[in-house]
Subunit: 736 residues, 2 copies
């Protein structure tokens, strides 16, 4: 039975690699932010979607609509500084007159980069007139320098169009649209010398820019290779000929040292190469599209991985699911440096992009200037021969796609992932684990870890309203906090909240690499806070989720009284979504029927009668790596309302009983007294022909007696908790 | 509020034509077959998937696995005859030895056609050795003639592969695979002369055959045109170059008189043309695929329409929805007779099918021999010039797709349509309506009608288990019955069951063109059964769904007594899925909360207390063409268990009250008597130093008083129905 439940609970799917994945992939806990984090929102300010961490200064620079904030990294509710950057009413009027909406015609801060210790580069959409400025954070004050410069090609015109940027060595790398209508997409380097992409559909074809990452591949590179800027986007593929419009995900890259060509590709990238970034999960007929990318480098740049979140192509009716694919930097490098190019074949009737198998010029088109190129006498891109430049201009697309690394994939049905960040942490046994924090379109963050190829979603934290997608995620390893922004607010939550796991079983089965159960203090605590000597008193079992070392727990019994013909609701809230709840009465398993209705784990006894009395138990079974852990969540003794049994809780009943007793005594005493008096009178011979003719009247007191039964009824249902211990369901679930 | 409900209830989507469709498109009623139809299944026989109507004989010939039945058309439970056609154990052994499963190695009857009055042509898969035979139904007996012939190319080898066939003028037209492995698909004419398709991927590319229809276009055709055989299938398109494998729906056609070419296309179709059959709903990125087709011809062949059911391409995670598209025969004819052809362009690097704009030979390739062709001296396909034949051999695919007629589309979310038949009926006002009966993968049949472009799903009838897809639908207009087959059973259901509509409102809002409400007899009756003179007493409002002429109905009140602390369940079952239920207490609307739980239209009052007493009303509002019809489904008077109010149902209470009264009297009377006696004694001067010293004892009667309240409790809940009339929810819903 349990085995069957496990099977039906996990919908498996064969992915391309032959792996079987549980698509339902339920988070173990679904919790709200409540007291574990902080929320910041400023009255009248929206669109908290740009962030810059200034860890040295201890502030989070937050860009919103027409405002920039400096918030305390440890508690974002502490607003340290704020600067307004609003559009003038004149600018707004002009913008609206061009057919844009009032909402669009504001200044949305879209770019925030650190230039030096206390200065920043900031751009905003500025009512469809993108503008940049220099900003300082000094002496607790945010100041815009007013050195406004044209933001065209740096920041989008349209505040709701996605863009990407990086700031490297005093230069801004940006990917956005170059013109008002958004029809000229561009990947550009600016500030000192300006280099950009060609306006050709073979270079960029209606792209939506997702992310840009700088990788310092030039640092101590034995081949004298250059740093790279990687650009992630979705665009209409020129290489597919389909039934209707579709998109593919791309990764492109340029070299940091690229200064453009001499004649051909003058002030254009000579190193712009792109290819299909494939996330081939679920054997979908249309490629998934990237929604966010995170660069995770545990060590040197060679260990870097790009984590991308992917969703299916949007249709009117589309299945909601999302995936995470991770790509090794070396795999991307190999496609660009060794792969074949695609070529456009065309005659008068048809056009088609297909693999080019012909000769490739030397130096290899699109390659950065490295030691070998320099040896050949090409010390900069300006020196490159026309042949190489003409080839790269015509063949920016590679034939080979980039495939994800086999490990670290997550597919989840019913979820729309929007953002991702990845943190690394060291477990009790010294092993290192990558923890993914994934923002969703329904305002939550999933915390997930991959253990031996199996993805575990530790929890889903609801940060915003269901209708508020997570639009930015930032991670501060220094303060151990995650910052998330949406249209309406910014929140901060710690990477772990171990003390919210109430019991040992809960703490260990969570498989949270940050947390372990301290057997001595009987608390779930953060691994980083423990002294190495106390390791033996800690329980943590990440890969196995083995809770066998957890001490046994006592059970809770609740007495529930009912009256026939009504319904009786018995509550049961297991602390884990992975627990399967089983109700039983007097050890007989309960199924949904005309009599019993199990809904949201609670049991409803319909039309209760005296045959429904007995002991009801709610058991939850949580499977962890093949082992079943059984927890008794609640035991109820369901009793027929028997008023004589609980004198202490039935004052009205007591009273009535006393009344009756008193009444009886009242009857007996006068009767006996009367009898005695009569006997005495007879004995004394007082009775002769005399008789009493007086009529009795009802005492007003009888009215109060009538009312007694009514008052009993109002006290019919009472719960008496006999025993409440740490493992009680209420406490287990405290942090939900 | 109501407006909001309507909006949230109907998920609209803009289709290609700009029309807005309600995707949820809920059937007004969801009912089971119960007593409205008949079920036939023979012990040990499965796969009831082939049917042949013999209306003259009054029988339904039913082909299943290794058995053919003749069932009474009026009641299929009456088996008139049966013949077994099983494979020998030797054949089965051979079949299994070739790697097939035991299930596959049986004889599945897949082809049943009428040849003459009492003879039929029948084929079965015969353990992967397709074989045909002649069968007769004479004197109540089914007999296989034993004239077995090779079924290759007529009937599939694989019993679970779809196939299609027609029997016209003594010839069998079939579409199936020609070889054991299924790799050679073929569209073939056989029995007299054999003509088939070329084994070329440009002709047929991994097709799945769905349906075949003969249209007698040659009958009295002024242009001397020929009859056509239309073939519907899905296949891999050669014309698209996509991310991964996909399919498109096709319609192809051949001429009945085609006898093949002389040199080129010898014994091959010279008239095989195919094109993309497009059902462009919901702007999907991948084309929908056809699952079944029904030929509906209200008058001459020129009025013919093909109704197709379509589903999206299957993926591991796919959104469940289905569509119906209808195609005018003239639109299909136009594409084939006037459209451009596609041509394969190829050079050493690439291949691509694109539109051919060059000259087309005369006579037009693929055209049937007609008066004009004959005038030119080509009296048969054998006479056609090589140029025409070579062209059609290389260009079987048309460039233009077939688009559906604008009217008569249905899109439904959450449903997988499998089969369709269409019936026509005449309404009370003489208008004609096409009623679609659509089989689903979940074993049900939807009955749907299009009124002025708006699709109304009158009901969904669950014929089989949820896991049993409808695999065949057949319609007999003569007996007014629908026959459906699945893997496990065959069922019969009438096209309408008017008497199951319990009230006038229910009958009229159903908008069932077969039914109307008779005001005189107060019954919902079949339109075809009424006398023209009684028209004025009938209510039917199909396009408007106007139930204003329905008489008002009285309401039902139920008294429900409860005791505090328990839950109280109040039931409400509106007779229509389109009705939106609203609960109110003392005219205050109830929302789901900690106090109230509305689930499946029933109201659960949690932790009831004396403040929950009052009048609870369950109202359902059904919108019909902009008008809201409010029906009060149930009214409850919820009372606190008040023992004094219902003497008749509370004998124990009465008794206790009497006891108390009696007790009071008992106290008062002896007390008064005692008092009188004492006064009298004083008055008489009897009291001196004498005193009474007797002690009172408790009466054993007091024990019985204690127990009274307990017995009250056992009588706590009682329902008293004050008024029950025709419009009561129970009766409205009788046929669910």
């Amino acid at each position: 039975m349990l085995f069957f439940l496990v099977l039906s609970f996990w919908v498996p799917a064969v992915l391309t690699s032959g792996q079987v994945w549980p698509l339902n992939n339920t988070p173990r806990k679904t919790v709200t932010l409540s007291n574990r984090g902080h929320v910041f929102k400023e009255e009248g300010v929206w669109n908290y979607t740009t962030m810059l961490l200034m860890e040295d200064e201890g502030v989070l620079i937050l860009g919103a609509r027409e405002a920039i904030f400096a918030l305390d990294l440890n508690n974002i509710t502490h607003k340290k500084a704020m600067v307004k950057w609003a559009v003038t009413s004149e600018m707004q009027r002009t913008c609206i007159s061009k057919g844009k909406t009032q909402t669009e015609c504001h200044n949305y801060i879209r770019i925030l980069h650190k230039m030096s210790n206390d200065t920043m580069f900031v751009c905003g959409t500025n009512a469809f007139n993108p503008t940049c400025d220099i900003m300082s954070y000094k002496d607790g004050k945010l100041t815009l320098k007013g050195k406004q410069q044209d933001g065209k090609g740096k920041c989008p015109f349209d505040p709701f169009q996605r863009c990407a940027s990086e700031f490297v060595d005093g230069q801004l790398y940006s990917a956005t649209s170059f013109n008002y209508s958004g029809s000229q997409p561009v990947v550009m380097r600016s500030l000192n010398d300006t280099i950009r992409t060609e306006f050709l559909t073979s270079w960029l074809n209606e792209p939506s820019f997702i992310g840009m990452k700088h990788v310092a591949e030039g640092d101590g590179n034995p081949e004298g290779d250059d740093d790279k800027i990687y650009i992630f986007f979705n665009e209409r593929p020129v290489e597919y000929d389909t039934y209707s419009k579709m998109e593919v995900s791309r990764v492109a890259r340029v070299c940091k040292g690229d200064v453009g060509g001499q004649q051909i590709l003058q002030e254009k990238w000579t190193s712009f190469l792109k290819t299909h970034l494939n996330c081939p999960v679920l054997q979908t007929r249309l490629p998934l599209l990237i929604q966010d990318v995170f660069l995770f480098c545990p060590d040197t740049w060679k260990t870097c991985m790009f984590y991308g979140v992917f969703t299916p192509q949007r249709e009117i009716l589309w299945p909601e699911y999302s995936a995470v694919c991770a790509y090794r930097i070396q795999d991307i490098r190999d496609v660009f440096s060794k792969g074949k190019f695609k070529k456009l074949y065309n005659d008068s009737f048809i056009e088609k992009w297909a693999r080019y198998d012909g000769p490739v010029p030397d130096p290899r088109p699109g390659a950065c200037i490295n030691s070998k190129t320099r040896e050949k006498g090409f010390s900069a891109s300006l020196d490159l021969p026309d042949e190489t430049l003409q080839f790269i201009r015509d063949h920016p697309l590679m034939d080979q796609t980039v495939k994800p690394s086999e490990q670290l994939q997550l597919v989840k049905k019913g979820a729309v992932f929007t953002r991702i960040v990845v943190a690394s942490t060291t477990a009790l046994d010294g092993s290192s684990h990558q923890v993914m924090f994934i923002g969703t379109a329904s305002g939550s963050v999933l915390k997930a870890v991959n253990y031996d190829g199996k993805m575990v979603i530790i929890e889903e934290v609801q940060l915003f309203k269901q209708s508020e997608p997570v639009k930015i995620l930032q991670l501060s390893i220094t303060v151990g906090q995650l910052y998330a922004g949406s249209e309406e607010a910014t929140v901060q939550m710690p990477l772990s909240t171990c003390d919210h796991y109430a019991s040992c079983m809960d703490c260990v089965l969570a498989r949270d690499p940050y947390c372990g159960w301290d057997l001595s203090t009987e608390r779930c605590i953060a691994i980083k806070n423990i002294h190495p000597d106390t390791h033996s008193e800690m329980v943590q079992s990440l890969k196995d989720g083995n809770a066998a070392r957890c001490p046994a727990v006592e059970c809770t019994t609740i007495i529930k009284t009912f009256y026939p013909g009504n319904e009786v609701m018995l509550l049961c809230q297991p602390g884990s979504n992975l627990a399967r709840v089983q109700w039983s009465v007097n050890n007989q398993t309960i199924q949904n029927s005309n009599k019993y209705n199990i809904h949201h784990n609670n049991l409803l006894i319909l039309n209760a009668s005296d045959s429904d009395t007995g002991f009801y138990t709610c058991t939850s079974v949580e499977s962890s790596n093949g082992n079943d852990y059984v927890i008794q969540n609640a035991t109820y003794e369901v009793r027929l309302g028997n008023i004589t049994e609980y004198p202490s809780v039935r004052p009205q009943v007591q009273e009535q009983q006393k009344c009756l007793f008193f009444l009886n005594t009242l009857v007996i005493i006068p009767t006996l007294m009367l009898l005695a008096l009569v006997v005495w009178n007879f004995y004394k011979g007082h009775f002769a022909v005399q008789s009493s003719s007086k009529k009795a009247e009802e005492s007003p007191k009888s009215v109060s007696f009538y009312q007694v039964p009514l008052q009993i009824v109002q006290e019919s249902s009472t719960e008496i908790i006999i025993n409440r211990v740490a493992e009680s369901p209420d406490m287990t679930n405290q942090h939900n």
